[in-house]
């Protein structure tokens, strides 16, 4: 137990979840500060989950204006674009999230995420970004890693019926609880750059095909200078060509990345609401675990595809010892 007790109001509101993770974890949650970027369906679900859970503060970054596409999987905004005029996505979401839980401070930070310096990220315990280019993912991840304190870093993306979560907790120590007792564990996470640099040949034989397919799409959008999700069926031949090149360069059999899967990802840039709920839920749980220090955090990728219904954890780290 550290210091301050929960107020009577907090105990009443959070009663059911304190029964899951304990008062100590609830106190830590209430002192945590979270930053999110990319107010689409999945991030919206995530924000709802952690605001309900009772984090200390939540900061939203997304300067885009409201579009029909942005509204499609978002329950935080009225559907009328005119009613939203003049406000950014982040501002509209803030207004709704504030109502969910008056004990959580929800605010908006304007500007381009990539332009924020290292010191900006020092204010946060957790940074979750979505709807970002490959370069931005790497950049923000590196800035979080430059800080002396640990800032837990997550990326999340949903396309079609598929979702991906990446987790970087740097060096993470926790008490692993099992039936037969508790053991102290230390996990060493690679950065996003390190993880995706792991040669495909050295990945586990049955690694999720979604992992490889997402790398192809990410690379395609990066090479073509597209915004994330700015891709359509006309791009498929070029995407398939890129897949072939990447597989050859990595000496991986092309069958590991089914064309049908790439086709789905290319065509379904829009999020599928049930998958947003699932990925936003898993991400919420992971962030709560990392803040509270309770439970086994996932390392370091999570994939869900509603076509097979599996929610799979993949550990993609460089197997070679550090030198």
């Amino acid at each position: 137990m550290d210091g301050e007790e929960l107020t009577e109001q907090e105990t009443a509101l959070y009663d059911r979840q304190i029964r899951v993770w304990g008062a100590d974890a609830q106190r830590r949650l209430s002192k945590s500060h979270i930053l999110v970027h990319g107010m689409k369906g999945t991030i919206t679900e995530f924000c709802k989950n952690i605001v309900l859970a009772g984090v200390g503060s939540l900061t939203l970054v997304d300067d885009r204006a409201v579009t029909e596409e942005a509204l499609s999987a978002n329950f935080l905004m009225p559907p009328d674009e005119n009613a939203c005029s003049g406000k950014t996505l982040a501002e509209l979401c803030r207004d709704s999230l504030n109502e969910f839980n008056p004990m959580v401070r929800v605010s908006v930070e304007k500007g381009d995420l990539a332009s924020f310096g290292v010191e900006f990220f020092d204010k946060f315990d957790v940074v979750v970004i979505s709807f970002c280019s490959l370069a931005t993912k790497k950049l923000i991840n590196e800035r979080c890693r430059k800080l002396s304190k640990r800032v837990s870093f997550y990326t999340v993306d949903c396309r079609d019926c598929c979702g991906e979560i990446f987790v970087d907790l740097q060096k993470y120590n926790y008490a692993k609880k099992r039936q037969d007792g508790t053991t102290e564990c230390e996990l060493q996470y690679p950065s996003f750059q390190e993880a995706i640099s792991v040669p495909w040949r050295s990945l586990p034989r049955k690694v999720s095909k979604l992992y490889l397919a997402m790398r192809v799409i990410e690379r395609f959008e990066e090479d073509e200078g597209r915004k994330p999700g700015e891709i359509c069926i006309e791009d498929l031949p070029a995407v398939l060509k890129l897949k072939k090149e990447l597989c050859e360069a990595q000496s991986l059999n092309e069958s590991h990345i089914p064309n049908a899967l790439l086709e789905r990802l290319v065509m379904g840039a829009r999020e599928f609401p049930p998958v947003c709920a699932i990925i936003g839920g898993i991400l919420g749980q992971e962030v709560i675990k990392a803040i509270s220090g309770k439970g086994d955090p996932l390392k370091n990728f999570f994939f869900f595809d509603s076509v097979d219904g599996k929610g799979i954890i993949e550990d993609i780290s460089d197997p070679r010892p550090k030198g």
């Binding site: 029964r19 899951v20 008062a23 559907p79 969910f100 599928f272 709920a277 996932l298 799979i312």
Partner: protein
Amino acid sequence: MASLQHSQAIKGAKVLMVGAGGIGCELLKTLALSDFQDIHIIDMDTIEVSNLNRQFLFRQSHVGQSKAKVARDAVLRFRPHISITPYHANAKDSNFNVDFFKQFNVVLNGLDNLDARRHVNRLCLAAEVPLVESGTTGFLGQVTVHVKGKTECYECQPKPAPKTYPVCTITSTPSKFVHCVVWAKDLLFAKLFGDKNQDNDLNVRSNDAARSSEHAGDAFEWSGNEDLEQYGRGIYDHVFGYNIELALSNEETWKNRNKPRPIYCRDVLPNRMTQQNGNVDITDDLSSASAMASLGLKNPQDIWCLMENTKVFLEALKLFFTNRRKEIGNLSFDKDDQLAVEFVTAAANIRAASFNIPSHSLFEAKGIAGNIVHAVATTNAIVAGLIVIEAIKVLKKDTESYRMTYCLEHPSKKMLLMPVEPFEPNKSCCVCSKTPLSLEINTHRSKLRDFVEKIVKAKLGMNSPLIMHATALLYEIGDDLEENEIANYTANLEKVLSELPPPVTDGTVLTVEDLQQEFTCNIHIKHREEFDEEKEPDGMVLSGWTQAPSEKKDDKTSIGNGASTSKSLPTKLGITEIDIEVKEISGGTVSPGTKRKLSEFSDGSTVDQSSDVDQTRNNKKTQKHDDDGGLVMLDHWDSNMSKKQRSP
């Protein structure tokens, strides 16, 4: 692409949601975002503060209002053009009959109790509407699909009976804190503040029956002008002191047990808490009085010492008599009644001290006494997403891809969300396969009332049953009965089975039917003279479909709705066994989890059938899992039912 593929099926669908609580709020939101246009939602509950941490459609200002209605309004704010029809009503109401259910393409359950789930299951079977069922506890969750004739129904798998404790464990030999809580809540609280005419086993059974009853008579009655602290001390000494002494006199009981110690109030708290005051200031102020508040105890997570428990006990008792006088005689324990929780916590802790059982905080005691569900928003959100995915498959009649999905706390085979193929209907299920049951009962001693309460209502889950012996009606519940029928049935209730007209004896077949559920079952009666009071507390044994598979009893799962978390995964010979528990949360009782065993085989290799798997289970099938569309099959408790083996 998803939206295009699904849009046709979704847009034309009319769906019924049962439950607008934790799962319900998430589900309604996800259905609306997924473009469902016509949603009906039933929930009888009103909103409480402790819902707000996860039922995100509700705000502080909605406390006390209908969940179904507020949920509708909240969702219409972001999807104004869809149709949501709320019903602030019990799903078991007679207007929600088979015809009502028939108008829907699919029914989605977000319920929190076994009774309502069974009821909806039967209506869906009768109306031939597919059902997607769900449940969560903490980080664990489950979603299943039930389609008549294609997959098992909700009741094909035996459901564990709500946990009950043998009477003498509660009255005389508690060994766990939960036993003390049950005693404090169901016996002491009920005796002091509840209906005086109810049977109550509070007083210790003694060989010297006359002695105990004579002493008990006066201790619980408040004369009306007696000083309340004095009165409280009298009760305290009676239940924690005298009754324990009495119990100790039954030496047989303590041969193999640790003896309890009697506790008297003067030894814990020699001085009075307040000045003697002859005139009690009775206010009948119904505002939430709190013993903790008046004693300056703030943190509900603290564990009180014996003296603090004693003070809370006396103070709470006094507050009931001063502030809530009018309610005494009609009170039943309510987890949201602060004063009641304080009293029960203190009483349970003092009893625990007698029996050398560790004390617990008010927060913990409240959870145990109120059967409080451990619930978080994230699991509900995930489960709601999974329900919608299955609902869309059902609407597209994509039978082959139906899955039952488990949300796990610890990954199994790298999976946190684990889909498995649904089971075939169980041929011996009395609900969907109309298999007869058999009942062992003492026909000379058990009354029809016992049969109705313990079997027809509790076990078979019928609301408005009709009981027939050949063509003769023995009993019926319904709205349109004649007066003489009612008199006749009421008289029958008090008769023992063998004296009914016509008599029910060994070999009789009774037909029990629920007209609303359109559910009928035949019960073969077998007379039996004796029953084991500990193991068969009902005094009757129903077998047939309720027969649980010979699963090892597991004490770890016994307490509370969410006391257990998912388990570690013992591995043997490449086989991982997982006990997945999805808790049933029922009204006032503690219930253990449903358990299923899952066997998985590494890398899709063939099964070594000779490995040390239970003989009855070794007939299982596996499918090679491939990363695309691969799945894991659960072995069925009745392997002959396995899908691949079934002949058409």
